[in-house]
Amino acid sequence: MISVNKIKAILIVGMLLVFRVIYGQSEVSDTTNIELPKPLKSAYKSRTMVIKTDTVTYRHRWIIPGQYKVQYAGSIGFMSIGFGYAITPTYQPALYFGYLSEAFGGSKNTVVTISLKNSFYLIKEPLFNYFNPYVGFSINWGNTQNTFKKLPDYYPDKYYFQNKIHLAPFVGGEIKFDLNNRYFNGFGVYTEFSALDAYLLEAIRTKYVKPYMVLSVAFGVTFYLR
């Protein structure tokens, strides 16, 4: 079992390493003189196709996710990995695969979560050059024992509400840096607070459950493809 303390240590060491990379490269600001690696080159290359009398020009680039993410906690697993797209500068969705088990997070039951995180970036230019706040909602699809979308036949109608898919609104912020790497030109560290629908409902309808009791924190990093 990996404890929270170990995670903290890993996070700190990771950040120091990242800082070292950023600091070491801060003198070089022009990334254009680094040659693109072969797979990216071929992805960016424009291709043409002739359909009858029309010539269509296209690139593979759009299908390749521009963002690669690793996240800790956040109610979608002990660790999760994801990829995302900047569909517009404001709307940037990402798909995550999260995992939790006894050896990996300390839960006696294994949970596999697939999460679609819909992030909306609030401002065009980052605050203090680096900070990007965002809001959004996740659709979390949880797979473990005895979760269901449709109740088995032996239950009376509407005996339980489905417990497989949960919505979780969140607020978060990312600090983004430039990166001089053959593949990646940006690197971000983010933190976000989410609230699961089931918990949020209790915070609304009871006095006992205070808003802070429904929050779940996540830490993650994003790598931005060139």
Partner: protein, 269 residues
């Protein structure tokens, strides 16, 4: 921006990380089965608190019965306050359904409120507590879902009769049949189970079997939750079925054990 600004940002972020790393705010999954050690096997821990009195010979005593607290947290808190205002109860039995969807934090919130009760509490499993990983979380948090104990010459039998949510055909009647027997000349044997036998979860066969086991073993009272309201009826024949209300009813059911009889009373507060 100078490299110094980078340092400041990174350090701020690390500090923020550490501050918000308190355990409560970190959740890996709403289905996680991670139970803090202070909340492990609480039924066993609570019985150990009673050990001294449990082995004494019979003398009249009273217990309190509660059930189906689900997410009625405010009403449950009120009930706990009322229980603590009385000094005449030896222990409390909660007849199951501590959660609505068996999510991890619901179990924690229940434990947090329940542990404010000054006398020991025994928690039974309910059908809602078996959704998702609830059954396994219950076992970690409270102990086996079928259990019995002795207290002042009375045998208390706690029976897990959840069927649908556990995706099984029948409750463990073999276990009940062995345990419900008055094998040590107890003054009373008293069974508790979340679901009453007339509920649709029981097949006709199981419904008949449950009542027959009571008759065969000369059980006078069988105690249940699930219905959210108070009831004390002879549903079939001689056996009395006691139904415990949910906290929203603002009632506390008291069971008063006398040498020759058991008195049941529901008190509004």
């Amino acid at each position: 921006m100078s490299p110094n600004s980078y340092i400041k940002l990174v350090i701020t972020l690390i500090v923020l990380t550490l501050i918000s790393s308190c355990e409560e705010i970190i959740e890996y999954s709403p289905y996680e089965n991670i139970v803090e050690s202070k909340w492990k096997k609480q039924n066993l821990k609570n019985y150990n608190r009673l050990l001294q009195e449990a082995n004494q010979s019979f003398e009249p005593f009273r217990i309190g019965l509660i059930s189906d607290s689900h997410t009625y947290y405010d009403e449950f808190e009120k009930q706990v306050k009322y229980i603590n205002s009385r000094n005449d109860l030896d222990f409390i039995v909660h007849l199951g359904d501590l959660t609505l969807s068996a999510n991890a934090r619901e179990f924690e919130w229940y434990s947090e409120i329940m542990n404010r009760i000054k006398v020991p509490v025994f928690t039974l499993i309910g059908n809602h507590d078996c959704l998702a990983n609830g059954y396994d979380i219950y076992v970690e948090m409270f102990g086996e879902s079928n259990f019995f104990f002795e207290y002042k010459d009375i045998k208390f039998v706690m029976f897990d009769d959840v069927v649908w949510e556990k995706q099984i055909q029948d409750p463990d009647f073999d276990w009940l049949k062995n345990v419900i027997v008055n094998d040590k000349n107890y003054r009373y044997v008293l069974p508790f189970a979340h679901i009453p036998p007339w509920d649709p979860q029981f097949s006709y066969g199981n419904e008949y079997l449950y009542n027959q086991l009571m008759l065969d073993n000369k059980i006078d009272i069988s105690v249940h939750g699930h219905g959210h309201s108070y009831g004390y009826t002879q549903h079939y024949d001689d056996v009395h079925y006691l139904s415990i209300p949910a906290p929203i009813r603002n009632e506390l059911v008291i069971m008063d054990f006398q040498a020759d009889t058991i008195n049941v009373e529901s008190i509004e507060y």
